[in-house]
């Protein structure tokens, strides 16, 4: 039986990818960001999963205004890093896990969550920046990501985005789906995006460190209550793009009901326009 053993939470700022790809990691500005992931890269090596279920949002890359799925699961064998306008990131292609992904799709849809099944999807910085942060810089041709990845895209671009409650319950459904897969796979689930940031209008640059840290506290200790937070609170307190944080609740809902072990916690302002938050939680039961 497959099992979710840990969850990882991290911001997915595109400038972090650019800093890696353009060799700026030694600059003091970026050192302060990457220092927070030194522990995480070692932890990934010591706790290599068989599959990563990676919750992220597509930033008008694979999905234009022609189609806007609320929840989309990738069941393909392979995903290509997208050209978001600056040219594709020079990182390895992402290998999928079609069998587990298809199993999760079937199980979760039968638990009443209407997922969109995607067999062709280029993946943008929302997916590749967290991989780079956790796995370090890799050569796009010579290297490979450490394991297969199941991309799970959530609409947080066009309002309304799914509620925190919906995301948390979806996480629980994903947990049941993984646990009913009959191969003994070690699965990690990642929730990405956030933390506080706003990329638009005269309020661009909004950061709310107190709110972010309270969010991290509550995600660890009382995620179910945190899931009740309405959208407008995210927008008002954490900026219009802070709404991405609902995706963290999917990963948290997929964890055990027992309190997790906090392996790592990091918070830093800024990376470009954004507050960087990062957690690693391990399941105890």
């Amino acid at each position: 039986m497959a099992k979710i053993t840990a969850s990882v939470y991290t911001s997915h700022v595109p400038a972090i990818g650019a800093a890696l790809d353009l060799g700026k990691t030694h600059e003091p500005y970026w050192q302060k960001v990457f220092a927070g992931y030194e522990f995480s890269k070692q932890w990934m090596k010591d706790n290599k999963p068989d599959v990563i279920f990676l919750v992220f949002n597509d930033h008008a890359t694979a999905f234009s205004l022609e189609m806007i799925p609320t929840f989309a699961i990738g069941t393909a064998a392979e995903y290509t890093p997208a050209d978001e306008g600056w040219g594709p990131r020079p990182v390895p292609k992402v290998t999928g896990h079609p069998e587990l992904a298809s199993h999760i799709a079937q199980s979760v849809i039968q638990q009443d969550f209407d997922l969109t099944i995607v067999n062709r999807m280029d993946v943008d910085h929302g997916l590749t920046v967290p991989l780079s942060l956790m796995c370090g810089a890799l050569d796009k041709d010579k290297d490979a990501w450490p394991c297969p990845v199941i991309p799970f895209a959530v609409n947080v671009v066009q309002y309304p985005v799914p509620s925190g409650r919906r995301c948390f319950n979806l996480g629980r459904a994903i947990r049941r789906a993984v646990e009913s897969f009959d191969q003994p796979l070690n699965v990690h689930i990642w929730g990405t995006g956030g933390m506080s940031h706003q990329l638009q209008g005269p309020r661009a640059g909004l950061i709310n460190a107190d709110w972010d840290n309270r969010f991290l506290d509550r995600l660890i200790t009382e995620p179910e209550k945190l899931a009740d937070l309405p959208h407008i609170d995210y927008v008002r307190e954490a900026g219009s793009e802070g709404i991405e944080l609902v995706m963290w609740l999917i990963a948290r809902g997929a964890m055990s009901d027992q309190p997790p072990t906090v392996k790592h916690r990091f918070y830093h302002v800024p990376a470009s326009n954004t507050a960087v938050g990062h957690l690693i939680l391990e399941n105890n039961a």
């Binding site: 400038a15 306008g85 640059g205 927008v235 008002r236």
Partner: protein, 146 residues
């Protein structure tokens, strides 16, 4: 029944909802075309001619030509789509975000390094934070746009 919009009282903020999406459909779809290198080259070679191939409004085209992201958003644009326009002009996300505040690149970068924009006074319209309409523009950028 019209859409419930509890977010209209947040200053300096436009939520990309179904009404905005409908208004900005072709502006945003034009931006999507800039994900291909050949389209970026074609656009840069003759911006007006390229825009005229899209069923966009004149106001949308003028906002794009002026590289004024606040105007683009008012015309229905969404920042993740508009980012392709910025990328085509060689701009980073920070340069794009900063361009909507009236600050110079340096002023905006300094604000972020100092911890970002405070939420105090910026939660509701009618307060007196830096994002409120009565406080615009916020910096010494010579003109709107990037």
């Amino acid at each position: 029944m019209s859409l419930d919009k509890p977010y209209l009282d947040v200053p300096g903020t436009t939520i990309f909802d179904a009404d905005q999406s409908r208004k900005g459909y072709w502006l945003n779809q034009f931006c999507m075309s800039l994900m291909k290198a050949e389209n970026r080259q074609r656009f840069l070679a003759d911006q007006r001619a390229h825009l005229d191939q899209w069923p966009m409004t004149e106001a949308q085209k003028q906002a794009v030509l002026a590289r004024d992201l606040n105007r683009c958003i008012a015309e229905g644009g969404n920042i993740y789509f508009l980012a392709k326009l910025g990328a085509t002009h060689g701009k980073s996300f920070q340069q794009m975000a900063g361009s909507m505040t009236g600050m110079t690149e340096e002023e905006y970068r300094d604000m972020m390094v100092s911890g970002g924009r405070s939420v105090e006074g910026n939660r509701f319209l009618g307060e007196d934070g830096s994002a409120q309409p009565q406080r615009q523009p916020q910096g010494s950028a010579p003109k709107p746009g990037f």
